[in-house]
Symmetry: C2
Amino acid sequence: MRVAILAHEKFPDDAKTAVGILRYGDYEVVGILDRDHPGEAVRDHLPDVQDAPIFERMTEVPRCDALVVGVAPIGGGFDETWRDDVRTAIERGCDVIAGLHYFLSEDEEFATLAAEHDVELRDVRRPPDDLTVADGTAGDVDARIVLTVGTDCSSGKMTSSFELRDAARERGLDAAVAPTGQTGIMIAGWGIAIDRVISDFAAGATERLVEEVGEKDVIFVEGQGALVHPAYSGVTTSILHGAQPYALVLCHIAGRGQFGGYERFDLPDLRTYIQLYENMSAPISGATVDAGMVNTHGMPVDAADDAIDEFAAAIDAPATDPVRYDVDDVLDALL
Amino acid sequence: MRVAILAHEKFPDDAKTAVGILRYGDYEVVGILDRDHPGEAVRDHLPDVQDAPIFERMTEVPRCDALVVGVAPIGGGFDETWRDDVRTAIERGCDVIAGLHYFLSEDEEFATLAAEHDVELRDVRRPPDDLTVADGTAGDVDARIVLTVGTDCSSGKMTSSFELRDAARERGLDAAVAPTGQTGIMIAGWGIAIDRVISDFAAGATERLVEEVGEKDVIFVEGQGALVHPAYSGVTTSILHGAQPYALVLCHIAGRGQFGGYERFDLPDLRTYIQLYENMSAPISGATVDAGMVNTHGMPVDAADDAIDEFAAAIDAPATDPVRYDVDDVLDALL
């Protein structure tokens, strides 16, 4: 499947979905839309993923099957400056795949146009309509359940989940990711966006994901948010209790001291944070933080290596940056 | 407003909404529907609330303005054995007020019938459609914010909130409840059912409730669920961080050792539970558990008094049963 990815004004640092698809997705990416970087290429920014040219608008992009909305703004709204490109994509016969809270399929103009041009508007954040409350049974699944958790949002939980899956598969293990967010869903082709689920059903939806994966050597559940985040902690807690993990991988952004976008709130120190995750899990599945991942994006290699060492020492467990290095030591600690 | 309350097979012990309305609501209750207790009266079960006769079916109930669905089954579904009574109510010109996840206004038969008979189907659990993520600003409201929290569901958080409000008002304080569940909303006439909100917006919806109440001497935020509940912990956490309380009131059911309906999971011991609530709040608003409430329903008075004393000793703070006794000591500890 050939796709273009919309990432206006955000590529690559604030375009988590775009970068995730470039890195792990099973798509051929024919172009990135970013009006701040026309004429450049992905490799000018990210040397280690598939390359693609960057365009200013959809009219310039080579023929493809779908346009993917590759940015996820706070609140999940639709940015009206994207409307021309989405309209062009539909008129050119492309499906549009989006993970916004705002459903493109409920936008009157897009819905009408999509019907005319016989293309699909796929809102991957739309949850199944038969969800219900958790039974408390995810832990009964015959698999080692590992959950990636974070000290903040956008700290590498999705990336860590897929890197760990790939490393486990390289060892011959039967491993899967249970995707809980829009990018993970776009990469894996299935999943439920837990943040879009009715809060009463969020743990139940996570439980269903684990039970749908079923018997495996290991399931990496993609975590969301952070346990004491001012806005998203409820999603994190629902996943922690719904997934009933055996082990946790703590993901952190090197040097991060306050919550991104909520700078009046300090992150707890790492030892306190670990205690909190383990104490919250204790009555349900008794998970322990057995390893860590640290995002050192943009740091010189020496500083990054120091940051990894410091983080591993602070959490007293193996840690790495899963984008820079292999995750073998981390995987060892989880199995 | 004259209302009948549907509570089939659940009155009074498993009909929290029915009992809440009888105790705190501003309605004249003309009858309870419970096919297990026809011919009896509310006073046969609950001597301290407004009395009303109990009927087997809606056809027997005196004329009234509305039928209230007064039970909230796990999962919030509609029980098809209620259909005849709801149909009868609509045909008799009654509005129907429900707090289910299943919206009566989206039930084809009821919607058609309601249009024919010009009555309203009010689904109080339907959230506003313009919710968004929390800004982390509830604590800026000029009010003492107190949150009722529980060791389990149905442990008395709604009751405690209204009893504390009434006691504060008796002292001449400007006090309000911020209702977060269907019964509280039915009693207060406004609010948002946080468990029905998209999980990403649950903290934001709580923040909006607190900000809508605005400047007060004290706001009692009605809590939901429990912090380590296998299914509902996400809702609890969202409210804890969205409301940014200054103080917490821990509500407990005397003798409860396992989660109701989830008996394979033990409740943490009370000191551990308090630590967990306080540690989870610490990075956001630093709330402390300053008092407790214990539900001793059905216990002989001596045993109840012992249970209250034991609970107060265990949590090392003033405590009472807000249905049996006044809440003055508890209120003192919160102001």
